[in-house]
């Protein structure tokens, strides 16, 4: 038995399992990470996280300042400033609740506050709908928040720990949003391995703002008026922090594998049956479930199809993802969001993928799909249909000039 397998055995012995949902997994991670300040304001489907935190605190299992604010605007502001004084902080929301916090969201990256927010992805009202749609979180995509989409409750727990480690690294000091598909992940339970605190302590150092800590002994001013004298330099620094996050993320996943013995492969995206695939679909979040089912069926029929699930959306691993995708005969991109009036009338991810492929010597046709909006189920026939369209593009070698809406009434 070599040293690595030996650790793996102790690992398996010390972990506990619990049947919890994706939201609850984030709450459990906040307990393991000993988060100091947690702010909340209820909205479905994210509220399952805040309620689990409340329960853990009431049960004496978690020690955190827990503030249910009067709105999202307040809860994000409170968490953000707790982060400025050196507290590890967590907040979260869904849909229009996330939008209502937008003023705070927009300024957090420039203030270099490593706040974590859980987004229970939800359609934006009006018209009122609770189901998942990614436009809420994506509205903040350009502002300097790191952004990750998780797929399972286990990944929600693990990524929350990883995100704290990366966000609170001084080379980064950026906020991070963790997107969990409303209902499909926030409300569905699975067996989750809960690591012991000792491993988390080994993995996650104390949050130390050093000379940037807001404290009477360290008189500094946060967010002074700067205008054109300094604003561009501040943006450039935030941009550099996001670039740094790529390497820091790799380090964190490496350490995570060593300590927790769970291997996510490439941190930025997951590959499923890509080795010999001719065509692939690309998407984010719990979409992977129906896509993986269809891939297994199509493979049984002899079709060489695969899937790439983008995990980290910001920072985006355009180099490796571009290299990977350029190998295939066609790429279908599935958006659970929209970007009306955008090139090819597609969703957000599709145009990110097009841009990613532009730098590659070989560019396969890209077919963009919009589906599963407002929580509509992406069904097995829907996925088959998307693979068929992608197959057709591979045969003709041409990208369609427009986006296909799948599973929508005429």
């Amino acid at each position: 038995m070599d040293a690595e397998t030996a650790t793996a055995v102790t690992v398996a012995a010390a972990e506990q399992e619990a049947l919890i949902s994706g939201s609850e997994a984030v709450a459990v991670a906040s307990r393991l990470a000993d988060v100091d300040v947690i702010t909340a304001y209820p909205i479905r489907p994210y509220d399952t996280m805040m309620q689990y935190v409340a329960k853990q605190i009431a049960n004496g299992e978690q020690d955190a300042e827990y503030i249910v604010a009067e709105s999202e605007h307040s809860q994000f502001e409170i968490a953000k400033h707790a982060s400025a004084v050196g507290a590890r902080a967590l907040c979260g929301s869904s849909g229009v609740g996330w939008c209502y916090a937008f003023e705070a969201i927009a300024v957090t990256p420039a203030l270099r506050l490593p706040l974590l927010a859980m987004v229970g992805n939800r359609a934006l009202d009006d018209p009122g709908a609770f189901g998942t749609e990614h436009n809420d979180a994506l509205a903040a995509r350009d502002l300097g928040w790191m952004h990750v989409w998780v797929d399972t409750a286990q990944e929600a727990l693990d990524v929350t720990l990883i995100a704290y480690r990366v966000a609170e690294d001084r080379r980064v000091f950026l906020p991070c949003a963790i997107s969990t598909d409303g209902a499909f992940l926030t409300h569905s339970q699975a067996l989750v391995k809960i690591p012991p605190r000792a491993w988390v302590d080994e993995f996650l150092p104390r949050y130390d703002r050093g000379d940037l800590r807001f404290h009477p002994d360290n008189p500094i001013t946060i967010a002074p008026q700067v205008n054109e004298d300094w604003l561009m330099e501040i943006r450039r620094q935030t941009d550099q922090a996001m670039r740094n996050a790529r390497g820091v993320l790799e380090e964190a996943y490496r350490d995570f594998r060593r300590i927790f013995n769970r291997d996510y492969g490439n941190p930025f995206f997951e590959e499923y049956y890509t080795d010999d695939a001719e065509i692939v679909l690309v998407g984010m979040g719990t979409l992977s479930m129906p896509v993986k089912v269809v891939i297994r069926k199509l493979r049984a029929e002899g079709q060489r199809v695969g899937f790439v699930r983008v995990r980290w959306f910001r920072p985006f691993d355009y180099e490796r993802l571009g290299g990977l995708l350029s190998r295939f005969q066609a790429v279908g991109v599935v958006d659970r969001d929209f970007s009306m009036g955008s090139p090819y009338n597609s969703g957000v991810l599709a145009n990110e993928i097009r841009a990613t492929l532009y730098g590659q010597p070989k560019q396969p046709p890209v077919v963009s799909f919009i589906t599963g909006l407002g929580g509509r189920e992406v069904t097995i026939p829907n996925v088959r249909e998307m693979f068929e369209h992608t197959r057709k593009a591979a045969e003709t070698g041409a990208s369609p000039r427009d986006t296909l809406w799948i599973g929508v009434r005429a």
Binding site: P42, A54, V68, E70, S71, V96, D126
Partner: protein
């Protein structure tokens, strides 16, 4: 021949609140009040916020606008300014009106916008499944405060009176006839009217039931010494016993925002001809260039 309106003329979709919800009584009272005032549905706009209470726009037949969480009053203000021929009624929950949207209440009061605001105060966030709301009594156990709420509640009546409200009332869902009077009075009042309704949530609040309220409430309307036109008595009542009074708390002559706007015309903006009169414009231009 026109027949008298009844509450049935204001029946919208079938109400889907939980059995026993206090909001049924508010809906019925609003329907009766409009019937009593002979306000036909097409002369009414009901604006509601997000929450169980906010569903009232679907259940009440009139023009309706179901707006974002907490934003009833700015939208109702806009409507009231654009069309003074309409009776504008805003409705929502305590979370909507006294939490996320609270600042609007103070500004609507100080402007004395001519509209009626009915708050269904159940002391919880009903729609999001029973968490602590701004009017939850300290110590109450809810999903967001499993060891008991730590904060003191907002006192809407005190707040409204301090902000200078000109029509203030509190009702309870178990007394529909009184609610009808209070709401009708609010609609008739020229200025901003707040009717706070203690509206039990049998699903998430097991404490403050109809019986619980009945044992505690005093009806100001039946107190011979109480005069709602006395600010002193109102201040005294809301400061010492705001959680146990129902009835008309305070009424003073309003100074509606609409009447104070310098350019506000006598006829509603909605019925004014805003496009230029083509014929007249041509005459002016013809005259100017002498053609």
């Amino acid at each position: 021949m026109a027949t008298a309106l009844t509450f049935k003329d204001f029946a919208g979709q079938k109400a889907m609140w939980c059995p026993g919800c206090g909001d049924f009584a508010v809906l019925r009272a609003l329907q009766e009040a409009c019937a009593r005032l002979a306000l036909p549905p097409h002369r009414i706009v009901l604006v509601s916020g997000i929450g169980c209470s906010g569903k009232i726009t679907s259940y009440f037949s009139s023009y309706g606008f179901h707006v974002h969480h907490g934003r009833t009053l700015p939208i109702a203000t806009g409507i009231a300014l654009a069309n003074r021929d309409l009776a504008v009624i805003a409705a929502g929950g305590d979370g909507d009106g006294y939490g996320i949207g609270l600042n609007h209440l103070i500004h609507a009061i100080r402007r004395d916008v001519d509209l009626t605001y009915v708050v269904m105060d159940n002391g919880v966030y009903g729609n999001t499944k029973g968490q602590t709301s701004p009017t939850t009594v300290a110590g109450t156990i809810t999903p967001s405060s499993p060891s008991g709420a730590v904060e003191e509640p907002v006192h809407p009546l005190r707040l409204a009176l301090a902000a200078g409200i000109t029509y203030l009332a509190q009702g309870v869902s178990s007394d529909v006839p009184q609610l009808v009077r209070l709401i009708a009075g609010g609609i008739e009042h020229r200025g901003f009217a707040l009717i706070n309704v203690l509206s039990p949530c049998p699903t998430y609040d097991r404490l403050r039931t109809y019986q619980w309220w009945r044992a505690r409430l005093v009806n100001l309307d039946e107190e011979p010494s109480y005069r709602p036109d006395s600010r002193e008595l109102a201040v005294e009542a809301v400061s010492s016993r705001d959680a146990s009074i129902v009835g008309l708390v305070y009424r003073a002559p309003g100074r509606p925002f609409q009447s104070r706007l310098p350019r506000f015309r006598p006829s509603p903006l909605a019925s004014e001809r805003l496009a230029p009169d083509g014929e007249r414009a041509r005459r002016i231009l013809d005259a100017r260039y002498a053609v």
